[in-house]
Symmetry: C2
Subunit: 429 residues, 2 copies
């Protein structure tokens, strides 16, 4: 007889409802592929009466999440509440402590409490799976943990947020302002009503922290440089375009001399490079590793369909009894790496200044650069048609990030500089 | 105490030697990640004295492959001999029959005998894993079987042969002839001494047959249209380039109205499309599926490093006891689909004719097209500088493949057509 696994779904928003429908409609197929029965025993949500496009039998409803934690018949809890605190946190911690497997799409929770949670899972011999928390439908977690298990990973980077990538792509394609592009993204369902964490880089930061610890067998490292895209102007997109670049929000993590450097920021990347062609809501992640070389995984990073694909892959893995350490390797083997600050890295950079159109400005600007030992590769000065000021665009040679910052800060204080200078790093990836 | 798994490696060429070295050097890491010990108990190769850059203890050598089959201490056999018949076939069949797990990089064997082999594996409850047989380092088999397990796949396509892609890319980049590009590829180690199966499409055909059966839960289907790249001239590459296309060797498989259509052929694809940017020895596979949407996996398709990455992922999966059906699903659930012939598909096509430079030729050519109901989208006639003939390049509208073939065959018989007409399909992917 086939093994039966009792599942509880907690959180029935768009994703939870889609998953529930999927599990009911595809039960037979999952049994055939996994040699075990996924049986949805309980569901739980704040509002029972919300329209979900699916009939939920009365007996399926649990009173609250505490009932789920206590119910000894439940083998596997799927947490789809979200947020790193409150009910989601309690549910996942307590479920693991009670020896239940957990599948979650909650990146904030894993990025914050992943180390403690995986310790409990390891102690209890249960799975804690979170494929859906990182880049939706891309099988990236599974590929790092299983498909690329043979490899020593040196670097992971990519486009990990569909909302910001949609906004930047459409700013580029339609020569739109940030605000208009955001309004469009909301209309089309590509941005949430409150898209703050998508735009300020925090969403990518959570994903990157998780990927970093997976790739380098390290504990989750909270030292990360994060910038978002709200400051990117249409003007910068157009300038970059003319100079042969696209602007993308990147998450990058690498290890060098036993130090990890994690950073999230917009960057100019050469047109024609792989990531420059990733447009719209797509996600794409590149892994550099030995012996395999460079591997790329690209796909839909969000939405109920892609997320369900990831959740079901985790549920299936547990159905097949594929017990693994949540972070590839036992707690006692995970390492605590030192971090390397982005300040110590070197970049070429794109800098845009709005300056008063008075004589000697260019000389004064270039002086600031040479004082800070930042050498200029390219400089373009042109008047703003609409106002009396001038625009100066500078592409620098490779310079220490800290010197670039100093240069910008010095410039910002000059009287002839009218607005806060714009500074975007260039990544040759 | 940790479970120990005794492994035998059969075939110690470039890949086998690299894998052996890897398994010895990374044993501890694999134990940590898989909670079981991969112990190389025996190796076997035709020539013991070949230089392999690794010291092999005397006690490791098996007399011959039969000793491996009979040795009841061996749990897992890694077959790296190659070829669909002879020793490789006997070794894999007999090892499975004797209840041993098998890992292989042998695409010809799996494409030919995969159905029988998986039946034996299923009966014996052992694994038959072949990630390394399909696109080297890309975790494509594992992604279909596990990461994308939730999905109903409709189409799979991509660039699946590094050698031919290297040749086509360098023909394009360096404006080289096929022969010169092939010589280069051999020098650089990107083409074997006998690259026949890489160039005639057979290598891609084997991979595609395996992927098709995985994607559609079908038995291996031998009905496949196969063309290689040996007929692609520098001239066609240049013409395509000027018209806004690159030429790539594609493997494509889809299912429509319960019929599978598998085909391997060179195709013009729009510049700027994802696959058009995959150059050199890279492989890239695109999967269209529900609910996840489009997924892409890209990486190194060949070489000892990438192949070892794939082999070790299979070995690790077995170490963790992740028993699965070799083709995702039990034999009794796999389907036998009808096939749809490429003849019934519709394509735009690129056609190049070399014709005598006499009056009325163009009219005669266009007549052949209209008689066969193939309508012309674009036609360019220009003289060959070096000889007295003319070149006619035609891009057709979408037409049934069978009508395109008829058109070509009729043209080939005309006296004013000097050489066999060149015909390459256009794929809008």
């Amino acid at each position: 007889m086939k093994k039966k696994m009792n599942i509880a779904l907690v959180g029935l928003g768009t994703i939870g409802s889609y998953l529930l429908k999927y599990l009911i409609q595809n039960k037979n197929q999952l049994i055939k592929k996994n040699m075990a029965i996924p049986n949805v025993l309980k569901v739980c949500a704040r509002n029972r009466n919300k329209k979900r496009g699916i009939k939920i039998q009365k007996k399926l409803w649990a009173k609250d999440y505490k009932e789920i934690i206590k119910n000894t018949n439940i083998d596997l809890v799927v947490e789809l509440i979200g947020g790193s605190e409150g009910v989601a946190k309690k549910l996942v911690f307590e479920s693991l402590r009670n020896g239940k497997h957990v599948v979650t799409a909650n990146k904030a929770l894993i990025a914050k409490y992943g180390d403690q949670l995986s310790e409990i899972a390891e102690k209890k011999g249960v799975n804690l799976e979170y494929e859906a928390a990182v880049c939706g439908g891309l099988p990236i977690v599974r590929s790092i943990k299983e498909g690329l298990i043979a490899n020593k990973i040196q670097k992971i980077y990519g486009i990990m947020n569909g909302t910001s990538n949609y906004i930047l792509s459409s700013m580029q394609k339609e020569k739109m302002h940030f605000k208009d592009s955001l309004i469009n993204a909301k209309k089309l369902g590509y941005a949430e009503n409150n898209p703050k964490s998508d735009l300020n880089g925090e969403d990518v930061a959570s994903k990157l922290k998780i990927l970093t610890s997976l790739c380098f067998n390290s504990f989750i490292n909270k030292n990360i440089h994060v910038e978002g895209i709200s400051n990117i102007d249409k003007e910068d997109i157009i300038n970059a375009d003319q100079l042969g670049y696209n602007i993308k929000l990147l998450g990058i993590s690498d290890i060098f001399k036993e130090r990890i450097c994690q950073r999230v920021h917009p960057a100019l990347i050469k047109k024609g490079s792989y990531l420059s062609n990733i447009n719209g809501v797509l996600n794409a992640v590149v892994i550099e590793a030995k012996p395999v070389g460079q591997s790329v995984i690209q796909g839909e990073g969000a939405g109920p369909e892609a997320t369900t694909s990831a959740l079901v892959s985790d549920i299936s893995s547990i159905l097949r009894g594929n017990i693994k350490y949540p972070f590839s390797i036992s707690k006692k083997e995970r390492k605590k790496f030192k971090t390397s600050d982005i300040n110590l890295r070197s970049y070429s950079a794109y800098i845009r200044l709005e300056v008063k159109d008075i004589s000697g400005v260019l000389t004064n600007v270039t002086k600031v650069f040479s004082k800070n030992k930042v050498s200029i590769k390219r400089i373009i000065q042109s008047p703003y048609n609409s106002r009396k000021n001038s625009r100066i665009i500078i592409i620098t040679h490779n310079s220490k990030d800290i010197l670039l910052s100093k240069t910008i800060n010095t410039l910002a204080r000059k009287k002839f500089v009218i607005k806060k200078p714009k500074f975007i790093r260039i990544e040759y990836i």
